[in-house]
Assembly symmetry: C5
Amino acid sequence: MLINCVAYQEGRKLAHIGLDEIAGYLAKPQCFVWLALCDATEEELRRAQREFDLHELAVEDVLHGHQRPKSEEYDDTLFVTLHTLERGADDALEIGDVSIFAGPNFVVSVRNRSQQSFLSVRQRAEREPQALREGPGFVLYALLDASVDRYFPTIEAFETDLETIEEKIFTPGAARANTQQLYELKQRIMLARHAVAPLQEAVGKLWGGRVPPVCAAHSDYMRDVYDHLTRINASLDTLREMIVMAIQVNLSMVTIEESETTKRLAAWAGIFAVATALAGIWGMNFEGMPELKWHYGYPAALGLIFLACLLLYRRFKRVGWL
Amino acid sequence: MLINCVAYQEGRKLAHIGLDEIAGYLAKPQCFVWLALCDATEEELRRAQREFDLHELAVEDVLHGHQRPKSEEYDDTLFVTLHTLERGADDALEIGDVSIFAGPNFVVSVRNRSQQSFLSVRQRAEREPQALREGPGFVLYALLDASVDRYFPTIEAFETDLETIEEKIFTPGAARANTQQLYELKQRIMLARHAVAPLQEAVGKLWGGRVPPVCAAHSDYMRDVYDHLTRINASLDTLREMIVMAIQVNLSMVTIEESETTKRLAAWAGIFAVATALAGIWGMNFEGMPELKWHYGYPAALGLIFLACLLLYRRFKRVGWL
Amino acid sequence: MLINCVAYQEGRKLAHIGLDEIAGYLAKPQCFVWLALCDATEEELRRAQREFDLHELAVEDVLHGHQRPKSEEYDDTLFVTLHTLERGADDALEIGDVSIFAGPNFVVSVRNRSQQSFLSVRQRAEREPQALREGPGFVLYALLDASVDRYFPTIEAFETDLETIEEKIFTPGAARANTQQLYELKQRIMLARHAVAPLQEAVGKLWGGRVPPVCAAHSDYMRDVYDHLTRINASLDTLREMIVMAIQVNLSMVTIEESETTKRLAAWAGIFAVATALAGIWGMNFEGMPELKWHYGYPAALGLIFLACLLLYRRFKRVGWL
Amino acid sequence: MLINCVAYQEGRKLAHIGLDEIAGYLAKPQCFVWLALCDATEEELRRAQREFDLHELAVEDVLHGHQRPKSEEYDDTLFVTLHTLERGADDALEIGDVSIFAGPNFVVSVRNRSQQSFLSVRQRAEREPQALREGPGFVLYALLDASVDRYFPTIEAFETDLETIEEKIFTPGAARANTQQLYELKQRIMLARHAVAPLQEAVGKLWGGRVPPVCAAHSDYMRDVYDHLTRINASLDTLREMIVMAIQVNLSMVTIEESETTKRLAAWAGIFAVATALAGIWGMNFEGMPELKWHYGYPAALGLIFLACLLLYRRFKRVGWL
Amino acid sequence: MLINCVAYQEGRKLAHIGLDEIAGYLAKPQCFVWLALCDATEEELRRAQREFDLHELAVEDVLHGHQRPKSEEYDDTLFVTLHTLERGADDALEIGDVSIFAGPNFVVSVRNRSQQSFLSVRQRAEREPQALREGPGFVLYALLDASVDRYFPTIEAFETDLETIEEKIFTPGAARANTQQLYELKQRIMLARHAVAPLQEAVGKLWGGRVPPVCAAHSDYMRDVYDHLTRINASLDTLREMIVMAIQVNLSMVTIEESETTKRLAAWAGIFAVATALAGIWGMNFEGMPELKWHYGYPAALGLIFLACLLLYRRFKRVGWL
C-alpha cells in the first residue's frame, strides 16, 4: 500500500507526486523523493525497483521479509532493514520489518506487518527545513532514530515483567508460575535480541571510519542512534543474566521450601509416631500390666502421651522445624 | 559416479562432453567446463585432478571426507567444502559432503553421501545466460546458495522440535521424555553447528577485503550467502541457549512437582496418623476408660476421628497442600 | 542550580563571574572558564549551551539523563557523561549523572541527582596552579579522577556484603535469607557495572593512539584513571563470578541439609516403626500367646522394645544419620 | 638416547653419520642433517646445542619438559614444542613432549616420555625425494602432521567414551558411575585441550602473513595441519559442552527418578496407612460396636480393608504413581 | 628499609654505595645503579624519586600499594608492578607487591608485604657478568622471571588441593566439607588470577611489536616470561572450570545419595507398615475371627508377618533399594 510519495527541494516540500512523476523529480537538482510503502505488494516493490534502480538482492530481501537486520551498500544506494517490536495480545511479541533504501536523491521506506506509522517522522522532518535540506541522509537518520526509540517501551515492559516476577520469587507457592513466566520472558528477550544486536552492528557501519556517502554528513547523529542501541543491548544482556539468576534462585527457593516442608513433615510424623507407639504399648494384651488397673491410669496415660507430644512439639518449635 | 559434464561459452551450453574432451574445451577462450560428480570413486577424482590440475591436499580432503567446512585457495583455484544436513530415519541428522573446485575456466562439484541433487541449480543457471556468462564464480555462488538454503528446513525442524518439547515442559509427568529429547536435540544442533559456523567463516573470505579472483565479481552475492549463514548461526545460538534454559526449567518443574507431591504425601500421612493415633488410644486396655462404656461412645469416637480428619483435610486444602 | 562559575588565567583564579561575563572571559588569551551546575534546569542548560556553543545532541543527553556513560567529541569540545553511585536507604544503590563538557577554554560540569559535591576537586585544583595552568584538560582529569575514586567505597561495600553472606552460607538455616541477599547484591552489582564498564571504554579513548586535543597533554593521567576503572571492573567481575558460585553453593548446602534431615527422619521413623510393630504384635488377640501370661512378660516386652529401639538408635548414630 | 642422525642432499640420503661428522656435513651446500633423539639426556642435548648452535632458552625448555606447546623463532632457527597424548593403563592420558628445532640446514627432533616413534615419518620422507629436496621445512611439516594425526584416535576414544556414558544416562540406577566417568572424561579432555589449543595457535604462526623462513615454501601444508587442529579443537569444544549438558541431564534424571520413588513411596504408605487406620478403629475397646458381633463382621471388615486398598491401588496406578 | 644499593659497570660490581653517591655514579658512562628497597617508607621512596627522577603517579602507586599488576612507560623509565602470592597460615593466600622502575642506567625494586627476598636474583646476575653487562633490561628480566617462577608452587598447591577434594567427592558423607573447601579454593584462585592475568597483559607489552627501549635487547627473554604466565593462566582457567564442574558433581552426588536414602527409607517403611497392618488386623476385636482360637494361630501369624517382611526385604534387595 502506498502511504505517500513526496518530492522535497532545499528542505521544503514541493508536492505530493504520483509514481509516474518520480523520474522527472529525480532529474531535478537539489531535489529528492521520499516514497513510503506499507505492507507493500510485489507489484509496488517492483515498480519502486524500476523507478529508483534498486538492487535485485535487496528487493528480494524485502519481499521475503524476516531478514536479519543489516545495512548493505549496493553501489551508491544504502539498504537498511530492521525489525519492529510490538506487544500483541497475551504479551506476545510481534515482529515486523522496516526496510529503507537511501540513495543520493531518494529514500524508499517499506513497513511490513507493523502498526507503527512513520507519519510523525515525516511531520518532524518537514518542520525542520534546515535539517531536511541535508537530504536523504537525514531522513534515514530520522527513520532509524524513530524505530530505535520505539524499542525502549518494549525493553521497559520486559524490565517491569522481570520485576513483577522477582517480587513473587521470594513469596512461597508461586514457583510454577514464576518458572513459566521467566521462560516466556526469556523467549521474548531472545526475539528482541535478534532485532537489536544485528542492528547495532549495522548502524555501527554508518559512522566512524569509512562511511557510506549518503550518511557522511550525519556521523554525530548515527553515533547517537548507535549509542541508544548499545544501551538497549546492555539492558537486554542484563535481563538475560538476571533471568538465568532468577531461574536459579527460584529453584533454590523451591528446594528451600521443600526442605522446610520435609522438616515439618518429619516433626509431625515424629509427634504422632510417639503417640501411636505409646498407645500401642498400652494396647498390648499382657496380663501383668499393673498401670492398666490403676484408678487414674487412663488419664495418666493420656496425660503422658499429651506431655510427650507437647515436649516434642516445643523442641521442634525451638529448632525451627515447626 | 559422474552426473554430467557440460561445456559453456558466453552463458550458453555448448555440449555435454566426455572426460576426454575436457582438455580441448578448457583451451577455448571464454569457455568453461562444469563437471558434477556424486559419491565419486578415487579413480574418478584422480582423473578430474589430472584434467583440471587440482591440488593434491584438496583432492585428499575430498577422498577422506568428513572435513571441516572451509574455503582454501590453491594458486588460482578456489576449493570450498561444506556439509549437507539431511533428516534421516528417527529424526537422526545425516551429514554429507559437498566439495567445489572453482578455477578460472572450470567448476568441479563433488557430492558425497547426500540425497540432495544440484540438478535444479544447473537448470536455474542455464535459464539465466547473462548470469552464467560471468563464469565459474556465478556457478560457485549458485551451488553455495542452494546448499545454504537447504539448511533452513533443518533449522526450522529444530525449532519445531523445541516448541513441541516446550509445550510439554509445563505439563506434569513428561520430564523424563523431555530431558531425553532435549539432549538429543542438543546433539543434532551441535552437528549442525559444525556444518554452519566454519562455513560462515569460509564464505566470509569470499567477499569484502581481499577476495579470491574467481569470486571477485560476485561480492554482493557472496555477502548474501554470508548473511543467510549469519542468520542460521544466530538461530542455532538461540536454540542452544533455549535448550540450556529448557533443561534448567524442566529440572525446576520436576523439583516443584516433587515438592508438591511431598506436601500431598505429608498431608495424607498427617490425616491418617491422627486417625491411627486416636484409634490406638481407644484401643488401650486401661480399665478406667469411661467413654468406652457410653452408649454412643463408638459413634461419637468415629465421629470425632472423622471430624479431626475433616478439619485437617480442610486446613491442608486451604494452604494448598491437597 | 548554578554552583559557581570561575575564570582562571595561567593557573590562578581571576574572579567569580556571572553568566553574562562568560563571553568576555572566553575571549581573553590563556584564560578559561569553569562553570559548575547541579540539578540543572533546562533554562540553565540552554543558557550554557549558548555561551559555550555546546552541541544539541549532548545537551539533550544531559536533559534526558540516564545516559550510558560515554565520551564523545563534537568538533573541539569533548563531552563525557558518567554515573555516580551512592548508597541510599535500605542499601539501595542510587544512580546520579555527571556530565562534563571540556572545550579549548572552558569546562562545564553538570551534576544531577547526586549528593557528591565537586567542591573538593576545585579546591585541590586551585591549590596546584602549575597543574591548573594546563587548562581544561587537567580539570577534566581531576573531575574524572574524583568520580572514579568515589566508586571504590561502593565496590568495597559490595565486597563486605558478599563476605557477610559467605559467612552465613555454611551456617544451617539461613539459606532463604542468603538467597534473597545474593540476588539483591547481584542486582546492585549489575547497576554498578552499567556505570563502570562503559566508562572504562569511554576513558580508554582519552589516552593512547589518537586522543581528543583537550586531553592530549594528560595521557599519563587519563591512563591512571583508566587503570582504576580496570581494577574496579575486575573486582565487579570477580563479585559476579563469586555470587554465581555462592548461589550454587548455597543450593548445595540446602540440598545437603535436606539430605541430612531426610536421614534423621528416616532414622526416627524406623525406631518408632519397630516399637509400634512390636506393640502391635503383642496387641493381637490370639489365644495361644503364652508370653502374655508370663509374670515378667510385660516388663520383658517393654525391655525388648526399648532394647530394639536402643540398638537401632546406636546403629543410626554410628553411621551418622542421627 | 640417539635414535639416528642422517645427512641428506637434494632429497637423497647421503649417510648415517656420527655426531662428530655433523659440522662437516652442515658446511656442504644443499645438504641438511636430521638428528632424532629420544628421552634425551642433558649431555646429548648440550652436544646438539653446540653442533647446531641452538638457543639456550629453547634447550632449557626441552630439558625441563612439560612446556606449553608453542612455536618460537630464535634468529633463523624455528623451535616448535608440542605434547603427545597416549592412552595408558586405566584409560589415563599420558602426556609426552616432542620438540623440533628446524634451521636452514638441519632438523633436530627430541621425543620425551612418548612411545610413538617417528620412524614411519622418516621412511615416508625418504620415499618422496622430490619433497625431501625442499629441506628442513618439509621434515618439520611431516613431523607436525604425524603428531597431529596421532591426536585423532584419542579424540575418537573420548567420543566413544561419551557415547557409552550417554547410553547409560537414561537407564535408571547408573547415575553415580555416570557422574564419576563424566568427571574423569572432563579431566582427560582438559589435558588434551592443553595440548591442542596452544599448538593450534603455534601452527597458526607458520602460514599466512609473515612466516618463519624455514616454512616459507610450505604454507599450504602448514594450513592443512592447522586445519586438522581446528577440527580437533572444535571436537574438544563440543565434547566439553556435551559433558556439561550430560552432567546436568544426569542430575535431572536422578531428580526425576527420586521424584518417582517419592510418589511410589507415598502411594504404598497411603495404602498401608488406610489398612492400619481401619484395623485400629476396629481394634478399639468400645462396648457398643455392633459390627464386631455380626456373624460376617470379620470377613466383611477384611473385605472392606482389602477393597479400600484396592481402590487406592488402582487410583495410584491410574495417575502413574505406581 | 633499604636492602642494598650497588653500582655496576660493564657487568662487574663497582661498589656498595650510599644514597648520596647515586647521582655521581649515574653520571658515569656504561654504569648503572640497582637500588633494592623492602617495605619502603614514604621518605625512602621520595628520596629515590628525587635521585632517579621517578614519575609522581608511579611513586604514588607504590605508596598506596594493592595496585593492579601493570607495566607503564613514563618517558624513558619503565614501571612494572606485580603481586606476590604467599601461602600464609590456614592456607590463606597472602598478597604482596613488587614494583620495579627500570631506567636507562638504573633499576629500583621495591618489595612490600612479601617474605620473598630477591637476594638470589642479585647473586645470579652478578655471577653472569656477560648478561649483567646488558644493563637494567636484564635485571628487570631477572626480577620478573624470579617473581613469575615463584607463582608455580602456589598453582601446584591449588592443583593438589583440588585433587584432594576430588578424591573425596565420590566418597559419601563429605559433601559439606567438600563444598566449603571448593568455595575457599575458588576464592584463592580468584586472588591468584588478579595477580597473573593483568601481569601477562603487562609483560605482553615488553616483547614483540613496539617495545620500551629498556627491554629492546631482551625480547626473547621477556617472551619466555610471558610464556610462563600463559601457562600459569591456562592452569588457573582449568582450575576454575574444574571447580565449577566439581561443585556440580558434588551436588549431583548429594542428590544421588539422598535418592538412595529415600529408597532405603521407603523400603524399611514398607516392611514395617506391612507388619503393623497385619498385627493391627489381628488386633481387631471382632468375635468371629476363627484364626485367633487356632492352636498354632499365633505362631502362624508371627510366621506370616515374618514371611511377608522377608519377601518384601528380598524384593527390595533385588531392585537395589536396600
